[in-house]
Symmetry: C2
Subunit: 351 residues, 2 copies
C-alpha cells in the first residue's frame, strides 16, 4: 500500500463521548499506522459543556474549519436529562443536526449485525445482518412547523415532514447500490404510505423507478408498524432497509437493541457526493450517568472509526477493525473490562 | 344485575375479519346472555370487497346509521397487498380512519399484557402489563399535507402533523386517569421533543400541567427511539404509555409482538365524551393470505369485545372474558385449533 494521509476532525462531545472517542482514536492510529498512512487529528470542543462555557453551539466559522477535513469522528452530545440550564434538544438540533444538514449527510448508514457470541434480548434471534440506510437531510427533521397561541387552550403545534424527489432518489439509489453489493441483494422500503400518502407515494414511486436500474436486486415494502413486528420475530429477513429520517431513527434503535445493544451500534452520516466531509458516530448518546467511570463500551465508536476508514478508501483497515471487534465480542464474559481495556485489546489486534 | 340492552354495530370487513368477528360475536352473546342483557347486533358490509362491488367506502348515510348504536365491533379491512384494483390505503383512510375521526375516537386504547404461558420472542420478557393510550384524532394522521410537481424531478411532498392543546390535553388526562386506577400508577410520555420541538413541547407541557391533577401518579418521559430499546430489553418498566397517533401506531405493534403477537392484541377506539359510539377492533389486519381457512386467531377480536363490554359498563362480563382468555391461552399447545374451536372454547367458559 502506498503511503497516504488522512486528516480527521474529532468531536468528542459530552458525557461518555470523550472516553469512547479516546479508544476509537487509539484504534484508528493503530490501523492507519499498520497501513502506513499518515493520520492527522484535530480536536474540536463542541457540545453541551462547550455551550455552557461559551454560549456557542456551532458557529459558521467552526463549521467552515470542519469542512476542511477528510472526515469527522463524533462521540456523543447532550446534557444530563435533568440539567435545566440547557434548553432541551438545543445541542442536538443546533449542533448535531446542523452538522448533518449543513454537510449534506444524506445517507445515514446504520449496519445492524448480531456478532457471534453476543447475547440478544431475543430468544431465537437467528442470523442478523442488515443495514439501514436512513435518509439524513429531510423528513420530519427539517425543523419546519410551528406553534400558534402557545400556552393557551387554543394552541396548535405543527410539524412538517418535507420530502423531495431529489432527496429521496439519491438515498434510494444509494440503498439499491449497497444492496447490489451484498450477497442477498434485497431491499425493503419501510414507510407508512397508507396514511402518509404524499410522502409515502413519493418514496414508493422512487423505489419502483430506481429498481429498474438494479435488476439483480429484489425489493419489497413494509409499513413501519409491520416492520416493528418482523424486527423482533424475524430480523433475519432484512438485508437493506431504506427509510425516512424519523422512521430510520426509530428502527435503528430497535435494531441496535436486538443485535446486542447500542454499545455496539455504529453509524455513518455520509455525503456520498463528497462535497463535504462525512461524519461517523456511535448510535448511542452521551449517557451522563456513567460518564467518566470507564464503564462505557467503546465498541460502537470503534466500529464507527472502521466505517470512516472504509469511506476514505481504507477497506482493508476497516475489515481488520471489524474482525478484531468480532473476535473481541465473541470472548466477552467474566468481569467487565474498562473502556480503555477494551480499546487496548482491539487496538492491539489491528496493529 | 338488572336486565338491560346493548345495541352493537358489527363491521366484519375483509380477509380474516368475518371469521374472527364470528367468534367475537359468539363470545359477546354468551357474556351478555349470562348478564341477562339483551344484545342487538346489526351487520354493516364495509371494506375492500364492499368497495369493489359498490364503489362506496363509507357514506354519510351509513355513518349516520352507525352513530345510532351503542358501540361498534370491527374486524379488519384491507385488500391483499398485490391487489391493484384498490388504490393503496384508500379503505384504511376513507373507512377506518374516517370512522375514528368522525366519531371522535380520541383515545386509542391498546392494552399490552403477556399472558402467563404465552411465548414471547424475548428471551427474558419478565412480567409485561402496560397499556398504550394512543391519541386517535390528530398528529400525522390528519391528512394534511400535499405534493407539488408530482412525478417530476422537482417533486416536493409534505405531511403535516397537527397537534392541538384541546386534543393533547384530553388524551393526556385520560391516560393519567387510567394510570391513577392501576396499581403502579405510572405514566410515560413517549415523543421526540428534541427534534419535533413544537409538537413535542405541547405534549411535554401538557403532561406537566395535567400531572398536577394526579399527585398520586408518577411520570417520566422517553424519546421514541429510546422507548424502542426498553420495549425489548425491559418492557416491565411500562405501566401507562401516552403518545401521539403515529408513535402509538409504531409502539403498539412492537408491544403486540413482544407480548405474543398481534393474534392477541385488542384495541378500543374510544370517544370518552360519549358523543358518538366507540369502536373496538383487533390490532391485526385482514391477513388475506390466511383468510377463509379457519387459521386466524380470534383472541384479539374476542378481547376487543371484552373492551367493548367494559366501555358499556359491563365490567364483570369483560373480566369473565379476559379470565376465560387467560385460561385458554395458558393451555395452548399441541395441534392448532380452528378459529371456531378457539371461539367455542372461550364462549363456553363465559356462559
Ligand atoms: C440525538 C438525536 C437528534 C438523534 C436523532 O434523532 O437522529 C439520535 O437519536 C440519533 O439517532 O442519532
Ligand atoms: C390500517 C392503519 C390505517 C391503522 C393505523 O395506522 O392506525 C393500523 O395500523 C392500526 O394500528 O390500527
Amino acid at each position: 500500500m502506498t503511503s497516504s494521509s488522512i486528516n480527521v476532525a474529532v468531536i468528542p462531545g459530552d458525557g461518555i463521548g470523550p472516553e469512547v472517542i479516546t479508544e476509537a482514536v487509539k484504534v484508528l492510529r493503530a490501523a492507519t499506522a499498520a497501513a502506513d498512512a499518515e493520520l492527522t487529528l484535530t480536536d474540536y470542543k463542541l457540545g453541551a459543556e462547550h455551550w455552557l462555557t461559551t454560549g456557542e453551539t456551532l458557529s459558521e466559522e467552526v463549521l467552515d474549519r470542519l469542512r476542511s477535513h477528510d472526515a469527522i469522528l463524533f462521540g456523543a452530545v447532550g446534557a444530563a436529562p435533568g440539567d435545566t440550564r440547557i434548553p432541551s434538544g438545543l445541542i442536538e438540533r443546533e449542533m448535531l443536526l446542523k452538522l448533518r444538514f449543513s454537510l449534506d449527510h444524506y445517507v445515514n448508514l446504520r449496519p445492524s449485525r448480531l456478532y457471534p457470541g453476543v447475547p440478544s434480548p431475543l430468544a431465537d434471534p437467528g442470523e442478523i445482518d442488515f443495514v439501514v440506510v436512513r435518509e439524513g437531510t429531510e423528513g420530519p427533521y427539517v425543523g419546519n412547523g410551528g406553534a400558534l397561541r402557545t400556552g393557551t387552550p387554543h394552541e396548535i403545534a405543527t410539524e412538517v415532514s418535507v420530502n423531495t424527489a431529489h432527496g429521496v432518489e439519491r438515498v434510494v439509489r444509494d440503498a439499491f447500490r449497497r444492496a447490489s453489493e451484498r450477497p442477498r441483494k434485497h431491499l425493503t422500503l419501510v414507510h407508512k404510505h397508507n396514511v402518509l400518502v404524499h410522502a409515502g407515494h413519493l418514496w414508493k414511486r422512487t423505489v419502483e423507478a430506481v429498481a429498474g436500474e438494479f435488476p439483480q436486486v429484489t425489493h419489497d415494502y413494509l409499513h413501519v408498524d409491520a416492520a416493528m413486528i418482523f424486527l423482533v420475530t424475524d430480523p433475519s429477513r432484512f438485508d437493506v432497509i431504506v427509510t425516512d429520517n424519523l422512521f430510520g431513527d426509530i428502527i435503528t434503535d430497535l435494531a441496535a437493541a436486538v443485535t446486542g445493544g447500542i454499545g455496539l451500534a455504529a453509524s455513518g452520516n455520509i455525503n456520498m457526493d463528497r462535497t463535504a466531509p462525512s461524519m461517523f458516530e456511535p448510535v448511542h448518546g452521551s449517557a451522563p450517568d456513567i460518564a467518566g467511570q470507564q464503564k462505557a463500551d467503546p465498541t460502537a465508536a470503534i466500529l464507527s472509526a472502521a466505517l470512516l476508514l472504509r469511506h476514505l478508501g481504507f477497506s482493508e483497515q476497516a475489515e481488520r477493525i471489524e474482525g478484531a471487534v468480532e473476535n473481541d465480542v465473541a470472548t466477552r464474559s467474566g468481569a467487565p473490562r474498562t473502556t480503555a481495556e477494551i480499546g487496548d485489546a482491539i487496538a492491539a489486534a489491528v496493529s
